[in-house]
Protein backbone atom coordinates (compact mmCIF):
# COMPACT_ATOMS: atom_id res chain seq x y z
CA UNK A 1 0.00 0.00 0.00
CA UNK A 2 1.74 3.15 -1.23
CA UNK A 3 -0.22 5.87 0.46
CA UNK A 4 -2.61 4.51 3.05
CA UNK A 5 -3.89 7.92 4.10
CA UNK A 6 -4.91 9.02 0.61
CA UNK A 7 -6.45 5.61 0.08
CA UNK A 8 -8.42 5.70 3.32
CA UNK A 9 -9.52 9.26 2.56
CA UNK A 10 -11.08 8.02 -0.65
CA UNK A 11 -12.79 5.25 1.29
CA UNK A 12 -14.16 7.86 3.66
CA UNK A 13 -15.64 9.96 0.85
CA UNK A 14 -17.13 6.88 -0.77
CA UNK A 15 -18.40 5.40 2.48
CA UNK A 16 -20.02 8.54 3.88
CA UNK A 17 -21.42 9.30 0.44
CA UNK A 18 -23.07 5.90 0.12
CA UNK A 19 -24.40 5.99 3.68
CA UNK A 20 -25.98 9.40 3.12
CA UNK A 21 -27.32 8.58 -0.32
CA UNK A 22 -28.82 5.38 1.09
CA UNK A 23 -30.47 7.10 4.04
CA UNK A 24 -31.55 10.12 2.01
CA UNK A 25 -33.24 7.98 -0.63
CA UNK A 26 -34.80 5.99 2.21
CA UNK A 27 -36.16 9.19 3.76
CA UNK A 28 -37.64 10.26 0.40
CA UNK A 29 -39.24 6.87 -0.14
CA UNK A 30 -40.61 6.84 3.40
CA UNK A 31 -42.08 10.33 3.04
CA UNK A 32 -43.67 9.33 -0.26
CA UNK A 33 -44.97 6.14 1.30
CA UNK A 34 -46.46 7.99 4.25
CA UNK A 35 -48.27 10.30 1.84
CA UNK A 36 -49.60 7.44 -0.29
CA UNK A 37 -50.73 5.35 2.64
CA UNK A 38 -52.34 8.40 4.23
CA UNK A 39 -54.23 9.00 0.99
CA UNK A 40 -55.37 5.51 0.07
CA UNK A 41 -55.58 3.76 3.42
CA UNK A 42 -56.67 6.44 5.84
CA UNK A 43 -56.91 5.28 9.44
CA UNK A 44 -60.51 4.95 10.51
CA UNK A 45 -61.26 8.03 12.57
CA UNK A 46 -60.83 6.89 16.13
CA UNK A 47 -62.90 9.64 17.77
CA UNK A 48 -66.20 8.28 16.44
CA UNK A 49 -66.92 7.46 20.10
CA UNK A 50 -67.80 11.10 20.85
CA UNK A 51 -71.08 10.96 18.95
CA UNK A 52 -72.16 7.56 20.21
CA UNK A 53 -71.32 8.66 23.74
CA UNK A 54 -73.69 11.59 23.26
CA UNK A 55 -76.48 9.27 22.12
CA UNK A 56 -75.78 6.93 24.97
CA UNK A 57 -75.99 9.75 27.49
CA UNK A 58 -79.48 10.64 26.30
CA UNK A 59 -80.60 7.02 26.41
CA UNK A 60 -79.12 6.54 29.85
CA UNK A 61 -80.84 9.66 31.07
CA UNK A 62 -84.14 8.41 29.63
CA UNK A 63 -83.70 5.00 31.22
CA UNK A 64 -82.93 6.51 34.63
CA UNK A 65 -85.89 8.77 34.32
CA UNK A 66 -88.14 5.84 33.39
CA UNK A 67 -86.98 3.74 36.34
CA UNK A 68 -87.39 6.68 38.68
CA UNK A 69 -90.87 7.24 37.31
CA UNK A 70 -91.72 3.55 37.76
CA UNK A 71 -90.48 3.61 41.36
CA UNK A 72 -92.44 6.77 42.06
CA UNK A 73 -95.59 5.10 40.73
CA UNK A 74 -95.17 2.09 43.01
CA UNK A 75 -94.92 4.18 46.17
Amino acid sequence: MENMVAESFKYMILGMGIVFVFLYVMVLVLQFQAKMIGKYFPEKPADKGGETAGVDKKKVAAAIAAIQHHKNLRK
Binding site: M1, N3, M4, V5, E7, S8, F9, Y11, M12, L14, G15, M16, I18, V19, F20, V21, F22, L23, Y24, V25, M26, V27, V29, L30, Q31, Q33, A34, I37, G38, F41, E43
Partner: protein, 446 residues
Amino acid sequence: MKRSLVAALLLFFTLFVTGASADEHHQPAAAAVEKSVEATHSENHDKSMWQLLSSFYKTTGIYAFTNPKDGVVNGEGEEVSKFHQSWGRIIMIGITLILFYLAIAKGFEPLLLIPIGFGGLLANIPMANMTSDHGFLGVIYNAGIANEFFPLLIFMGVGAMTDFGPMLANPKTALLGGAAQFGIFGTLVGAAALSQFTPLFDFTLQDCAAISIIGGADGPTSIFIATKLAPDLLGAIAVAAYSYMALVPVIQPPIMKALTSKEERVIVMKQQRKVHRLEKLFLPLIVLGLSILLLPESTPLIGAFAFGNFAKESGVVDRLSDTMQNALINIVTILLGLGVGSKLAAEKFLVGDTLGILILGLVAFAVGTAAGVLMAKLMNRLSSEPINPLIGAAGVSAVPMAARVVNRVGMDEKPGNILLMHAMGPNVAGVIGSAVAAGVLISIFN
Protein backbone atom coordinates in the same frame (compact mmCIF):
# COMPACT_ATOMS: atom_id res chain seq x y z
CA MET B 1 -6.48 -36.10 31.00
CA LYS B 2 -6.44 -39.86 30.47
CA ARG B 3 -2.88 -40.10 31.63
CA SER B 4 -3.53 -38.19 34.82
CA LEU B 5 -6.48 -40.47 35.59
CA VAL B 6 -4.32 -43.52 35.12
CA ALA B 7 -1.63 -41.96 37.28
CA ALA B 8 -4.14 -41.34 40.06
CA LEU B 9 -5.36 -44.96 39.87
CA LEU B 10 -1.83 -46.26 39.98
CA LEU B 11 -1.04 -44.04 42.92
CA PHE B 12 -3.98 -45.51 44.84
CA PHE B 13 -2.98 -49.10 44.15
CA THR B 14 0.67 -48.51 44.87
CA LEU B 15 -0.22 -47.14 48.29
CA PHE B 16 -2.48 -50.13 48.90
CA VAL B 17 0.18 -52.58 47.87
CA THR B 18 3.03 -51.05 49.85
CA GLY B 19 0.80 -50.79 52.93
CA ALA B 20 -0.37 -54.43 52.83
CA SER B 21 2.86 -56.25 52.09
CA ALA B 22 6.12 -54.47 51.55
CA ASP B 23 8.03 -57.29 49.91
CA GLU B 24 5.26 -58.59 47.63
CA HIS B 25 5.19 -56.33 44.58
CA HIS B 26 2.67 -58.11 42.43
CA GLN B 27 -0.66 -58.64 44.12
CA PRO B 28 -3.28 -60.06 41.73
CA ALA B 29 -5.47 -56.96 41.75
CA ALA B 30 -2.58 -54.60 41.25
CA ALA B 31 -1.21 -56.82 38.53
CA ALA B 32 -4.50 -56.70 36.66
CA VAL B 33 -4.54 -52.94 36.78
CA GLU B 34 -0.94 -52.74 35.69
CA LYS B 35 -1.70 -55.03 32.80
CA SER B 36 -4.49 -52.83 31.52
CA VAL B 37 -2.29 -49.80 32.01
CA GLU B 38 0.47 -51.54 30.12
CA ALA B 39 -1.84 -51.96 27.17
CA THR B 40 -2.37 -48.21 26.87
CA HIS B 41 0.77 -46.68 28.33
CA SER B 42 3.61 -49.13 28.34
CA GLU B 43 6.04 -46.45 29.61
CA ASN B 44 4.10 -46.27 32.89
CA HIS B 45 5.27 -49.74 33.84
CA ASP B 46 7.09 -50.21 37.11
CA LYS B 47 7.36 -46.69 38.35
CA SER B 48 8.30 -45.74 41.82
CA MET B 49 5.99 -43.58 43.87
CA TRP B 50 8.22 -40.58 43.36
CA GLN B 51 8.35 -41.01 39.59
CA LEU B 52 4.57 -41.25 39.50
CA LEU B 53 4.12 -38.13 41.53
CA SER B 54 6.60 -36.18 39.47
CA SER B 55 5.06 -37.27 36.17
CA PHE B 56 1.63 -36.37 37.50
CA TYR B 57 2.97 -33.01 38.61
CA LYS B 58 4.06 -32.36 35.03
CA THR B 59 0.45 -32.66 33.88
CA THR B 60 -0.87 -30.10 36.36
CA GLY B 61 -1.73 -26.50 35.62
CA ILE B 62 0.73 -25.38 38.29
CA TYR B 63 3.58 -26.93 36.33
CA ALA B 64 2.34 -25.52 33.01
CA PHE B 65 2.04 -22.00 34.41
CA THR B 66 5.44 -22.04 36.11
CA ASN B 67 7.46 -23.92 33.48
CA PRO B 68 6.80 -22.47 30.04
CA LYS B 69 8.46 -24.47 27.30
CA ASP B 70 9.58 -23.78 23.77
CA GLY B 71 7.64 -25.35 20.98
CA VAL B 72 4.21 -25.33 22.60
CA VAL B 73 1.55 -24.68 19.96
CA ASN B 74 -1.96 -23.25 20.32
CA GLY B 75 -5.17 -24.43 18.70
CA GLU B 76 -4.20 -23.04 15.32
CA GLY B 77 -0.77 -24.64 15.41
CA GLU B 78 1.08 -21.36 16.02
CA GLU B 79 3.89 -21.40 18.52
CA VAL B 80 3.14 -19.71 21.83
CA SER B 81 5.93 -17.71 23.43
CA LYS B 82 7.09 -18.46 26.96
CA PHE B 83 5.66 -15.22 28.29
CA HIS B 84 2.24 -15.98 26.85
CA GLN B 85 2.30 -19.46 28.38
CA SER B 86 2.95 -18.27 31.89
CA TRP B 87 2.34 -14.65 32.91
CA GLY B 88 0.33 -13.96 29.78
CA ARG B 89 -2.24 -16.55 30.73
CA ILE B 90 -2.35 -15.38 34.32
CA ILE B 91 -2.85 -11.76 33.22
CA MET B 92 -5.60 -12.82 30.82
CA ILE B 93 -7.39 -14.76 33.55
CA GLY B 94 -7.15 -11.59 35.63
CA ILE B 95 -8.65 -9.59 32.75
CA THR B 96 -11.56 -12.02 32.42
CA LEU B 97 -12.18 -11.64 36.15
CA ILE B 98 -12.30 -7.86 35.62
CA LEU B 99 -14.83 -8.41 32.83
CA PHE B 100 -16.95 -10.45 35.25
CA TYR B 101 -16.73 -7.68 37.82
CA LEU B 102 -17.78 -5.05 35.27
CA ALA B 103 -20.66 -7.22 34.09
CA ILE B 104 -21.96 -8.24 37.51
CA ALA B 105 -21.22 -5.33 39.80
CA LYS B 106 -21.39 -2.50 37.26
CA GLY B 107 -23.99 -3.96 34.92
CA PHE B 108 -21.90 -3.43 31.76
CA GLU B 109 -23.52 -5.44 28.94
CA PRO B 110 -23.63 -8.56 31.14
CA LEU B 111 -25.35 -10.59 28.44
CA LEU B 112 -22.20 -10.43 26.36
CA LEU B 113 -19.38 -9.79 28.76
CA ILE B 114 -20.19 -12.87 30.86
CA PRO B 115 -20.02 -15.37 27.97
CA ILE B 116 -17.08 -13.55 26.35
CA GLY B 117 -15.25 -13.38 29.67
CA PHE B 118 -15.87 -17.03 30.44
CA GLY B 119 -14.82 -18.04 26.96
CA GLY B 120 -11.63 -16.09 27.57
CA LEU B 121 -11.10 -17.83 30.88
CA LEU B 122 -11.47 -21.26 29.24
CA ALA B 123 -9.24 -20.28 26.33
CA ASN B 124 -6.35 -19.53 28.69
CA ILE B 125 -6.27 -22.92 30.37
CA PRO B 126 -2.96 -24.59 29.60
CA MET B 127 -2.87 -28.04 27.97
CA ALA B 128 -6.65 -28.33 27.65
CA ASN B 129 -6.37 -26.75 24.18
CA MET B 130 -10.01 -25.77 23.99
CA THR B 131 -9.43 -23.39 21.11
CA SER B 132 -8.12 -26.09 18.78
CA ASP B 133 -10.31 -27.34 15.95
CA HIS B 134 -11.52 -30.23 18.09
CA GLY B 135 -11.77 -28.26 21.32
CA PHE B 136 -15.02 -26.99 22.76
CA LEU B 137 -14.39 -23.34 21.90
CA GLY B 138 -12.77 -24.07 18.56
CA VAL B 139 -15.81 -26.04 17.44
CA ILE B 140 -18.10 -23.13 18.36
CA TYR B 141 -15.81 -20.64 16.63
CA ASN B 142 -15.66 -22.65 13.43
CA ALA B 143 -19.36 -23.42 13.47
CA GLY B 144 -20.59 -19.88 13.56
CA ILE B 145 -18.03 -17.13 13.81
CA ALA B 146 -15.37 -18.05 11.25
CA ASN B 147 -18.17 -18.21 8.67
CA GLU B 148 -19.93 -15.05 9.98
CA PHE B 149 -23.12 -16.96 10.75
CA PHE B 150 -23.83 -16.02 14.37
CA PRO B 151 -23.63 -12.23 13.90
CA LEU B 152 -26.31 -12.57 11.22
CA LEU B 153 -28.60 -14.52 13.54
CA ILE B 154 -28.11 -11.82 16.16
CA PHE B 155 -28.98 -9.21 13.57
CA MET B 156 -32.17 -11.12 12.79
CA GLY B 157 -33.13 -11.00 16.46
CA VAL B 158 -32.29 -7.30 16.66
CA GLY B 159 -34.53 -6.76 13.63
CA ALA B 160 -37.36 -8.59 15.36
CA MET B 161 -36.91 -6.39 18.43
CA THR B 162 -36.68 -3.06 16.64
CA ASP B 163 -39.67 -0.76 16.36
CA PHE B 164 -39.20 1.65 13.49
CA GLY B 165 -42.25 3.70 14.50
CA PRO B 166 -40.23 6.68 15.82
CA MET B 167 -38.14 6.83 12.66
CA LEU B 168 -41.21 6.59 10.42
CA ALA B 169 -42.89 9.37 12.36
CA ASN B 170 -40.06 11.75 11.48
CA PRO B 171 -37.99 10.23 8.67
CA LYS B 172 -35.63 13.20 8.41
CA THR B 173 -33.98 12.26 11.69
CA ALA B 174 -32.71 9.09 9.97
CA LEU B 175 -29.98 11.27 8.44
CA LEU B 176 -28.51 11.66 11.92
CA GLY B 177 -27.94 7.92 11.94
CA GLY B 178 -25.85 8.49 8.83
CA ALA B 179 -23.79 11.33 10.27
CA ALA B 180 -22.74 9.21 13.23
CA GLN B 181 -21.11 6.76 10.82
CA PHE B 182 -18.42 9.39 10.39
CA GLY B 183 -17.00 7.80 13.52
CA ILE B 184 -16.17 4.78 11.37
CA PHE B 185 -14.67 6.53 8.37
CA GLY B 186 -12.98 9.34 10.27
CA THR B 187 -11.21 6.80 12.45
CA LEU B 188 -10.28 4.80 9.36
CA VAL B 189 -8.33 7.81 8.07
CA GLY B 190 -6.85 8.47 11.51
CA ALA B 191 -5.74 4.87 11.97
CA ALA B 192 -4.24 4.78 8.50
CA ALA B 193 -2.32 8.01 9.20
CA LEU B 194 -1.02 6.71 12.52
CA SER B 195 0.06 3.44 10.95
CA GLN B 196 1.83 5.15 8.11
CA PHE B 197 3.51 8.13 9.74
CA THR B 198 4.20 6.95 13.27
CA PRO B 199 5.92 3.85 14.60
CA LEU B 200 3.06 3.56 17.14
CA PHE B 201 0.87 1.18 15.18
CA ASP B 202 1.47 -1.06 12.26
CA PHE B 203 -1.97 -1.85 10.91
CA THR B 204 -2.85 -2.71 7.33
CA LEU B 205 -5.79 -0.92 5.71
CA GLN B 206 -7.96 -3.98 6.35
CA ASP B 207 -7.04 -3.88 10.01
CA CYS B 208 -7.81 -0.15 10.14
CA ALA B 209 -11.23 -0.74 8.60
CA ALA B 210 -12.04 -3.57 11.01
CA ILE B 211 -11.00 -1.45 13.99
CA SER B 212 -12.81 1.69 12.93
CA ILE B 213 -16.12 -0.19 12.58
CA ILE B 214 -16.19 -0.08 16.40
CA GLY B 215 -17.33 3.52 15.85
CA GLY B 216 -20.59 2.16 14.49
CA ALA B 217 -21.30 0.99 18.05
CA ASP B 218 -22.84 -2.17 16.73
CA GLY B 219 -21.60 -5.46 18.19
CA PRO B 220 -22.70 -7.96 15.54
CA THR B 221 -21.56 -5.69 12.70
CA SER B 222 -18.15 -5.28 14.33
CA ILE B 223 -17.78 -9.04 14.69
CA PHE B 224 -18.99 -9.60 11.14
CA ILE B 225 -16.45 -7.16 9.68
CA ALA B 226 -13.59 -8.20 11.95
CA THR B 227 -14.03 -11.86 10.95
CA LYS B 228 -13.99 -10.89 7.29
CA LEU B 229 -11.14 -8.37 7.30
CA ALA B 230 -8.92 -9.05 10.33
CA PRO B 231 -9.75 -12.33 12.12
CA ASP B 232 -6.65 -12.09 14.30
CA LEU B 233 -7.91 -8.88 15.88
CA LEU B 234 -11.42 -10.24 16.52
CA GLY B 235 -11.08 -10.72 20.26
CA ALA B 236 -9.83 -7.22 20.95
CA ILE B 237 -12.31 -5.61 18.56
CA ALA B 238 -15.29 -7.43 20.06
CA VAL B 239 -14.24 -6.66 23.60
CA ALA B 240 -13.65 -3.00 22.71
CA ALA B 241 -16.98 -2.71 20.87
CA TYR B 242 -19.04 -4.21 23.67
CA SER B 243 -17.16 -2.42 26.43
CA TYR B 244 -17.65 0.95 24.79
CA MET B 245 -21.31 0.19 24.12
CA ALA B 246 -21.64 -0.47 27.82
CA LEU B 247 -19.80 2.78 28.51
CA VAL B 248 -22.16 4.88 26.36
CA PRO B 249 -23.60 6.60 29.46
CA VAL B 250 -20.07 7.60 30.47
CA ILE B 251 -18.55 8.48 27.10
CA GLN B 252 -21.38 10.34 25.42
CA PRO B 253 -22.73 13.01 27.84
CA PRO B 254 -19.52 15.08 28.08
CA ILE B 255 -19.23 15.18 24.28
CA MET B 256 -22.91 16.09 23.92
CA LYS B 257 -22.61 18.90 26.45
CA ALA B 258 -19.39 20.26 25.00
CA LEU B 259 -20.87 20.62 21.54
CA THR B 260 -24.26 22.14 22.38
CA SER B 261 -25.40 25.30 24.12
CA LYS B 262 -27.87 25.39 26.98
CA GLU B 263 -30.57 26.90 24.69
CA GLU B 264 -30.13 24.05 22.24
CA ARG B 265 -30.37 21.37 24.91
CA VAL B 266 -33.71 22.63 26.22
CA ILE B 267 -35.41 22.61 22.81
CA VAL B 268 -38.74 20.83 23.00
CA MET B 269 -39.60 18.78 19.95
CA LYS B 270 -43.02 18.43 18.38
CA GLN B 271 -45.16 15.48 19.40
CA GLN B 272 -44.73 12.65 16.92
CA ARG B 273 -47.54 11.72 14.54
CA LYS B 274 -49.20 8.34 14.64
CA VAL B 275 -47.67 5.84 12.23
CA HIS B 276 -49.87 3.66 10.04
CA ARG B 277 -49.39 -0.07 10.41
CA LEU B 278 -48.71 -0.48 6.69
CA GLU B 279 -45.77 1.94 6.88
CA LYS B 280 -44.10 -0.30 9.44
CA LEU B 281 -44.88 -3.37 7.37
CA PHE B 282 -43.33 -1.94 4.21
CA LEU B 283 -40.26 -0.47 5.88
CA PRO B 284 -38.10 -3.65 6.00
CA LEU B 285 -38.94 -4.29 2.35
CA ILE B 286 -37.97 -0.74 1.39
CA VAL B 287 -34.67 -0.93 3.26
CA LEU B 288 -33.88 -4.31 1.75
CA GLY B 289 -34.91 -3.09 -1.70
CA LEU B 290 -32.57 -0.11 -1.44
CA SER B 291 -29.68 -2.25 -0.33
CA ILE B 292 -30.31 -4.66 -3.19
CA LEU B 293 -30.13 -1.77 -5.64
CA LEU B 294 -27.28 0.20 -4.10
CA LEU B 295 -25.16 -2.21 -2.13
CA PRO B 296 -25.79 -5.95 -2.50
CA GLU B 297 -22.69 -6.56 -0.33
CA SER B 298 -24.61 -5.36 2.69
CA THR B 299 -27.60 -7.63 2.10
CA PRO B 300 -26.48 -10.45 4.40
CA LEU B 301 -26.66 -8.06 7.36
CA ILE B 302 -29.60 -5.99 6.15
CA GLY B 303 -31.42 -9.04 4.80
CA ALA B 304 -31.30 -10.81 8.16
CA PHE B 305 -32.33 -7.61 9.90
CA ALA B 306 -35.19 -6.98 7.46
CA PHE B 307 -36.42 -10.56 7.83
CA GLY B 308 -36.59 -10.26 11.59
CA ASN B 309 -38.38 -6.93 11.39
CA PHE B 310 -40.77 -8.13 8.69
CA ALA B 311 -41.71 -11.19 10.75
CA LYS B 312 -42.48 -8.90 13.67
CA GLU B 313 -44.47 -6.32 11.73
CA SER B 314 -46.41 -8.86 9.67
CA GLY B 315 -48.28 -9.65 12.86
CA VAL B 316 -49.18 -13.17 11.74
CA VAL B 317 -46.07 -15.07 12.81
CA ASP B 318 -45.80 -14.02 16.42
CA ARG B 319 -44.36 -17.42 17.28
CA LEU B 320 -41.44 -16.95 14.91
CA SER B 321 -40.76 -13.36 15.83
CA ASP B 322 -41.00 -14.28 19.50
CA THR B 323 -38.42 -17.04 18.98
CA MET B 324 -36.08 -14.68 17.16
CA GLN B 325 -36.38 -12.03 19.86
CA ASN B 326 -35.90 -14.41 22.77
CA ALA B 327 -34.93 -18.07 22.47
CA LEU B 328 -32.86 -17.83 19.30
CA ILE B 329 -31.00 -14.64 20.14
CA ASN B 330 -30.26 -15.98 23.62
CA ILE B 331 -28.80 -19.23 22.30
CA VAL B 332 -26.74 -17.44 19.69
CA THR B 333 -25.54 -14.91 22.26
CA ILE B 334 -24.16 -17.73 24.40
CA LEU B 335 -22.37 -19.29 21.44
CA LEU B 336 -21.17 -15.98 20.03
CA GLY B 337 -19.82 -14.90 23.40
CA LEU B 338 -17.92 -18.14 23.97
CA GLY B 339 -16.61 -18.16 20.42
CA VAL B 340 -15.37 -14.59 20.65
CA GLY B 341 -13.94 -15.37 24.06
CA SER B 342 -11.76 -18.03 22.46
CA LYS B 343 -9.88 -15.14 20.83
CA LEU B 344 -8.97 -13.83 24.27
CA ALA B 345 -6.18 -16.39 24.51
CA ALA B 346 -3.06 -14.64 25.82
CA GLU B 347 -1.04 -15.08 22.63
CA LYS B 348 -3.80 -13.30 20.66
CA PHE B 349 -4.83 -10.59 23.10
CA LEU B 350 -1.65 -9.58 24.90
CA VAL B 351 -0.03 -7.98 21.90
CA GLY B 352 0.76 -4.35 21.17
CA ASP B 353 -2.09 -4.12 18.66
CA THR B 354 -4.71 -4.57 21.36
CA LEU B 355 -3.86 -1.30 23.06
CA GLY B 356 -4.07 0.45 19.70
CA ILE B 357 -7.46 -1.12 19.06
CA LEU B 358 -8.81 -0.04 22.43
CA ILE B 359 -7.63 3.54 21.90
CA LEU B 360 -8.79 3.82 18.28
CA GLY B 361 -12.14 2.23 19.19
CA LEU B 362 -12.72 4.86 21.84
CA VAL B 363 -11.80 7.62 19.38
CA ALA B 364 -14.17 6.13 16.79
CA PHE B 365 -16.98 6.11 19.32
CA ALA B 366 -16.39 9.70 20.39
CA VAL B 367 -16.07 10.97 16.80
CA GLY B 368 -19.32 9.22 15.84
CA THR B 369 -21.16 10.84 18.74
CA ALA B 370 -19.72 14.26 17.90
CA ALA B 371 -20.58 13.97 14.20
CA GLY B 372 -24.18 13.04 15.07
CA VAL B 373 -24.56 16.02 17.41
CA LEU B 374 -23.03 18.46 14.90
CA MET B 375 -25.32 17.18 12.16
CA ALA B 376 -28.32 17.62 14.44
CA LYS B 377 -27.22 21.21 15.16
CA LEU B 378 -27.07 21.86 11.44
CA MET B 379 -30.49 20.33 10.88
CA ASN B 380 -31.92 22.43 13.68
CA ARG B 381 -30.66 25.60 11.95
CA LEU B 382 -32.01 24.59 8.56
CA SER B 383 -35.26 22.88 9.48
CA SER B 384 -38.54 24.65 10.13
CA GLU B 385 -39.38 22.26 12.96
CA PRO B 386 -37.21 22.48 16.05
CA ILE B 387 -34.71 19.62 16.46
CA ASN B 388 -32.91 19.15 19.74
CA PRO B 389 -29.24 18.57 18.81
CA LEU B 390 -28.87 16.07 21.62
CA ILE B 391 -30.74 13.44 19.60
CA GLY B 392 -27.84 13.39 17.13
CA ALA B 393 -25.79 11.50 19.70
CA ALA B 394 -28.25 8.62 19.35
CA GLY B 395 -27.11 8.16 15.76
CA VAL B 396 -24.57 5.60 16.93
CA SER B 397 -26.44 2.35 16.81
CA ALA B 398 -26.18 1.24 20.43
CA VAL B 399 -29.94 0.57 20.71
CA PRO B 400 -31.60 1.60 22.96
CA MET B 401 -28.81 2.70 25.29
CA ALA B 402 -27.80 5.79 23.28
CA ALA B 403 -31.42 7.00 23.05
CA ARG B 404 -31.84 6.57 26.80
CA VAL B 405 -28.70 8.57 27.44
CA VAL B 406 -30.03 11.38 25.21
CA ASN B 407 -33.29 11.28 27.12
CA ARG B 408 -31.50 11.52 30.44
CA VAL B 409 -29.28 14.43 29.41
CA GLY B 410 -32.36 16.22 28.03
CA MET B 411 -34.27 15.66 31.29
CA ASP B 412 -31.32 16.97 33.32
CA GLU B 413 -31.43 20.22 31.38
CA LYS B 414 -35.17 20.57 31.35
CA PRO B 415 -37.25 18.21 33.48
CA GLY B 416 -40.22 16.86 31.59
CA ASN B 417 -38.63 17.26 28.14
CA ILE B 418 -38.93 13.66 27.01
CA LEU B 419 -36.66 13.06 24.02
CA LEU B 420 -36.68 9.26 24.15
CA MET B 421 -38.94 8.62 21.17
CA HIS B 422 -37.32 11.40 19.13
CA ALA B 423 -33.91 9.86 19.82
CA MET B 424 -35.06 6.36 18.90
CA GLY B 425 -35.44 7.53 15.28
CA PRO B 426 -31.74 8.27 14.70
CA ASN B 427 -30.89 5.31 16.92
CA VAL B 428 -32.57 2.69 14.72
CA ALA B 429 -31.42 4.55 11.60
CA GLY B 430 -27.91 4.17 13.02
CA VAL B 431 -28.32 0.39 12.87
CA ILE B 432 -29.13 0.65 9.17
CA GLY B 433 -26.37 3.20 8.67
CA SER B 434 -23.67 1.04 10.24
CA ALA B 435 -24.82 -1.99 8.26
CA VAL B 436 -24.52 0.10 5.08
CA ALA B 437 -21.09 1.34 6.15
CA ALA B 438 -20.09 -2.28 6.75
CA GLY B 439 -21.33 -3.17 3.29
CA VAL B 440 -19.21 -0.39 1.77
CA LEU B 441 -16.10 -1.64 3.57
CA ILE B 442 -16.73 -5.21 2.45
CA SER B 443 -17.27 -4.13 -1.14
CA ILE B 444 -14.01 -2.11 -1.06
CA PHE B 445 -11.88 -4.99 0.19
CA ASN B 446 -13.45 -7.80 -1.82
